[in-house]
Symmetry: C2
Subunit: 344 residues, 2 copies
């Protein structure tokens, strides 16, 4: 048995209707609401085939059909339509980006909020990890005898700081000296391009008067930056998960809420997305077990050439894929665009 034009149409009708209403959809509904020119009996036969193909399932005998993960997959691969972004939304987005353009962190945070509002899904957004963005300025500031703050200004105009324990006492003058040398060496590059360790010898050379301290401080900085290369992660619209499960399932809701407090896990969820496209993982397609009950749709935006941030949503497998994908595409496209100049 094979797919044919009519089967596809019926599948699409089932999915559209189910996404809209949330009720299992029966043959009669389709023959009435969607104009296929055949009777419900014929549709019934086709539906029986679709079920055999694993594209739809029956929650129980004598109920209508609902799409399976595989059915949704076929839908998003072939039948999904981009949907229209209303002018009002468009305006909100552009304003948002314009206003916040100087603060990438808050821009991303606000974007997450917006996407959550538009999609009714829990939205995760993260800034690029520090190692991927170009560094405009780096500054060491003494904190106490055995620690310095390393302040990094990126070309996205966000400022990060790291408190770094140093192996040896370090004073203000030395901070300044090291700051100067560091800036000369790495200004305009990303940390993933330049390994601080490579600089070690040349810097020890230049800072002879401080002995081997400079080198070991550098080492400490390198370690900390590598360890704490974690981006900012925002989650917004968490309340939407209350509608995902048939409310019976408090345990699943709880599990999600707990995960939302684990930043490393959130970044794992978004890691799945590939650059320049919207990635959709439906139900069982998800690698991470707790996500197997949901769909994850994610994409990325770029800042300049290298820096890549992610944004994505978690929602029920029964979600309005058309809309979600449209929103994400639109948002990521615009963030990337508006930030283009910053990263050249």
């Amino acid at each position: 048995m094979d797919m044919n034009e009519r089967k596809l149409k019926i599948l699409e009708a089932i999915i559209r209707d189910y996404i809209e209403t949330g009720d299992p959809v029966g043959s009669r509904t389709i023959s009435k609401k969607y104009d296929l020119g055949v009777s419900s009996a014929t549709i019934r036969n086709e539906m029986s085939d679709l079920e055999e193909l694993g594209l739809i399932v029956q929650p129980h005998t004598s109920a209508g059909r609902i799409p399976s993960d595989k059915g949704y997959r076929m839908y998003v691969d072939g039948m999904m339509k981009r949907c229209h972004i209303t002018p009002e939304v468009e305006e909100v987005i552009t304003n948002l980006i314009k206003e916040k353009i100087n603060r990438v962190d808050t821009l991303v945070e606000e974007t997450a909020k917006l996407v959550a509002m538009l999609t009714n899904c829990a939205t995760i957004a993260m800034t690029p990890p520090i190692s991927q963005v170009r560094i405009k300025h780096i500054q060491l500031v003494p904190v106490d005898d055995y620690s310095v703050a390393c302040v990094v200004v990126t070309d996205t105009n966000s400022v990060k700081n790291y408190v770094i324990p140093t192996p040896k006492a370090i004073d203000f003058n030395m901070c300044m000296a090291l700051t100067n040398i560091l800036n000369e060496s790495i200004k305009g590059s990303t940390l993933s391009q330049i390994s601080l360790n490579q600089l070690k010898y040349s810097i020890e050379e230049k800072m002879k008067e401080y002995g081997d301290i400079a080198g070991s401080v550098l080492q400490a900085i390198d370690n900390t930056l590598k360890q704490e290369d974690s981006p900012e992660i925002y989650i917004r619209g968490a309340n939407n998960i209350l509608d995902f499960n048939g409310m019976d399932d408090k345990d699943k809701t709880r599990t999600l809420l707990k995960l939302f407090e684990e930043k490393p896990y959130l970044s794992k969820i978004l890691d799945q997305s590939k650059p320049n496209t919207v990635t959709i993982r439906i139900g069982e397609e998800n690698v991470l077990t707790p996500m197997k009950d949901y769909s994850v749709v994610s994409t990325s935006y770029r800042i300049g050439e290298h820096a890549i941030g992610n944004i994505g949503i978690i929602g029920p497998t029964r979600m309005d894929y058309d809309q979600v994908v449209s929103v994400l595409e639109y948002v990521s496209y615009h963030i990337t665009n508006m930030l283009k100049e910053l990263g050249h």
Copy 2:
């Protein structure tokens, strides 16, 4: 009609039992489980009085009684007992504090997590606002022509940065010059003690060669610091709110979840707490409307003399007040203690 010894005992029994079981408690239960030496009929009469006094209520005829807000109030005011912190918990707390002592931010975050775990309530914790902590070092770093980053190292060894738009172009040398002067003036003080505006004239004097730029930059810094004087706020154990309402009430749960994404609101919740004590607001006692369905228990910890951070929990009015108060007291006492040296 008046309270007497026996009525108090009965009230206490009702509250203890209800907190433990969650079921409305009847006269028979009390006469069996708690040894008051009188029959259920007598207790019944007393309960009728207690109800008249507004201390307990009946969810419906022919159900047992449950405490009212007023009843809980009488309980926490007079009958609550500190409860024992188990040695294991004690160890966890001390280890936590020892490990994280250098990073006040993460210390507070981890503490919130711990408290959430121990109390099964949603826990909010916040660091002191920057204006309250002593400043160890302040550093201006150029970001682009029209903005500088102001990096503030506090005597709690946490580092904050603020990106500040400047009215006029500002270069590296000027940053350094201003940095030096600022440090001389405000090192060791808190921003609430010293108004940057006071410094304006003396600084313009010292930096004559830059014209009035220094003054206006200072102004900009002052503005930003005042505006963004917001502390870090952490919320942990949000999932616990799923157990607060009788699951029927999805709306209330949703409202809470939404609020948890509004940092200013969270800080408002904790603002209610008075220094050096554990503050308890039961149900209707809360000023903030959405909190009127819950109890908020909060306290503060100190860093040095001035800096005050808050930590508190939101839970159902039916919560184990004994335990919650004990945990909060213990935790705040220990944070304050361990951080004492830092803030002298």
